[in-house]
């Protein structure tokens, strides 16, 4: 694949990487968030501090971990602590800048479902469950969600609230005692959604280069509002693409 073209997933990873700022402390989930965070560290944010829920603090893996507790995360970490410690001392007090999450379903208030599709007791699809996500969503200063934009995933209301975004409106996080700001950006393979400051509903604030608002709407399960100053995401630069494509996952065939 040349750097003249790129996949939607690549655009998503690049956009997500760009959303991280140098020196931030980032609590990273496995999968798309891990790709984006490790890409940012190789691009504009070499001192991005990566924390994984397995207890690895300030880890600088050469390759992408396949699982949240890969040995490469421990080997390259400044410090490895126990699992209770990572949640109680590091995540819970609100000292993490950015929580990076993904999900199977996301709704218009950016609530996330990774538990079940359908009823809890008789699910259509049983998903892995919570993991660290509920408390990442609660306690990080802000949350960035990275997930593919599909109609079945971007729903009016999630079937199960695994991790609270903005609940059912702008005041819910405060009432619930959640101290972080919650999801401030949802970065997809089509564009970027951000909560409206007044309603907390996700609105489309950017479409990626080559994507139309209609395409985004077609994959969104609620009547998507579009920001008055809709931006167009700059396409991936050559350095972004070559760096992203050079990221290898541990144990993967080259």
């Amino acid at each position: 694949m040349s750097t003249d073209s790129w996949t939607a997933d690549e655009m998503m990873s690049v956009a997500a990487a760009r959303s991280l700022r140098e020196g931030q402390v980032c609590f990273v989930g496995i999968g798309l968030p891990s790709v984006a965070a490790n890409l940012a560290r190789r691009l504009h944010a070499p001192n991005l501090v990566l924390i994984y829920e397995s207890g690895t603090i300030d880890t600088k893996p050469d390759e992408l971990p396949l699982s949240i507790g890969d040995g490469i995360l421990a080997d390259s970490a400044l410090s490895v602590v126990s699992v209770p410690e990572i949640f109680n001392y590091w995540l819970q007090p609100g000292r993490i800048d950015v929580g990076f999450l993904s999900g199977a379903q996301l709704d218009r208030f950016a609530n996330i479902n990774t538990t079940v599709i359908g009823e809890y007791d008789e699910p259509d699809v049983r998903l892995p469950g919570s993991g660290g996500a509920p408390e990442i969503a609660a306690s990080c200063r802000e949350v960035i969600v990275v997930m593919r934009h599909r109609l079945r995933a971007f729903v009016e209301q999630v079937d199960f609230v695994t991790s609270v975004g903005h609940g059912s409106g702008p005041d819910d996080r405060r009432v619930l005692g959640l101290r972080g700001a919650g999801p401030m950006k949802v970065i997809t393979d089509l564009g970027i959604l951000e909560p409206d400051p007044d309603t907390a509903e996700l609105v489309l604030t950017a479409v990626h280069h080559g994507i139309t608002v209609e395409q985004v709407r077609a994959e969104t399960g609620w009547t998507l509002q579009v920001s008055a100053d809709l931006r167009i995401t700059a396409p991936p630069g050559e350095k972004e693409l070559t760096t992203l494509r050079s990221l290898r996952t541990v144990g993967a065939a080259s």
Binding site: G71, V80, S82, L91, G129, R179
Partner: protein
């Protein structure tokens, strides 16, 4: 003081039908060999506790050892779903499976409470999520100083905890390092404990980041070289990622799983 015995002896002595059993190891040092021995000895009606039920619990569930699963994230890390777990939940095959579901922070604190000898732990968690609607071991308490409401989770005190470690000395003191996860808490919370180790050495030389479990909090130590495979043992062997991917195919259908199971039962510990 820990007794050093064979793995079949240890499982026979410590793990009983109906027990609450925790096999811990956060991605790293997962006690596969011990789990397989539990399958071989055909334990039944176990309540299986584990933050991240992955292949080993998929195998135990498929083999019919489990009546209940207590967990916070159930998947094949980096690969996908646990098909045997799904089949048990959806189709009650080979038997019905009850679940009790938490977040990682909740489960970690449940073990901390168990290890600390208190009946519950507090955390900032679960607020606004749907989990408390389904999980009776989640409640709340009010801070007597500030009036603030916090989540409370019930302590976990397994009948038996099983973990895998790099090594033990001849007195049964255990040492593990790398990602040490929740193992210390899981062992200290348990009524009985079994540690499988890569090797038994004369002396435990200090290792950066190591957790040491003194012999007197461990009931049985058994050598099980490569006992964490296909997960990994830091400093001993790497994760067998191919085996994790291969499990997806094996576990997808009952026939291929059943032949895998027959093969396991025919092998020695």
């Amino acid at each position: 003081m820990a007794k050093i015995v064979s793995l079949p002896e240890a499982v026979a002595e410590l793990v009983r039908d109906g027990d609450v059993v925790a096999l811990e190891g956060f991605t790293h040092l997962i006690p596969f060999a011990a789990g397989h021995e539990i399958i071989r000895q055909a334990r039944r009606d176990l309540t299986l506790v584990r933050m991240t039920p992955d292949l080993i619990y998929d195998q135990l569930i498929g083999a019919g050892c489990a009546a209940k699963l207590v967990f916070s994230w159930g998947g094949n890390p980096g690969v996908g779903s646990l098909h045997r777990m799904r089949d048990a939940l959806k189709n009650e095959w080979p038997m019905p499976l009850e679940i009790e579901e938490h977040s990682h922070a909740g489960m970690a604190n449940r073990y901390v409470a168990g290890a600390s000898g208190v009946p519950f732990a507090i955390l900032r968690g679960y607020a606004g999520t749907d989990l408390p609607l389904h999980t009776p071991t989640i409640s709340s308490v009010t801070c007597p100083f500030t009036g603030e409401q916090l989540a409370a989770v019930a302590a976990l005190n397994p009948d038996v905890t099983v973990v895998h470690a790099q090594r033990a000395d001849r007195a049964g003191n255990v040492q593990l390092w790398g990602i040490t996860g929740i193992q210390k808490e899981a062992v200290l919370a348990a009524k009985r404990s079994l540690v499988t180790v890569e090797e038994i050495v004369d002396e435990l030389t200090p290792v950066p980041g190591a957790v040491v479990l003194p012999s007197w909090v461990v009931d049985r130590v058994a050598t099980a070289p490569k006992g964490a495979a296909p997960s990994y043992a830091h400093g001993y062997y790497d994760r067998d990622n191919a085996a994790y991917r291969k499990w997806d195919a094996i576990s997808r259908d009952r026939a291929s799983f059943t032949s895998w199971l027959e093969e396991l039962k025919g092998s020695a510990a």
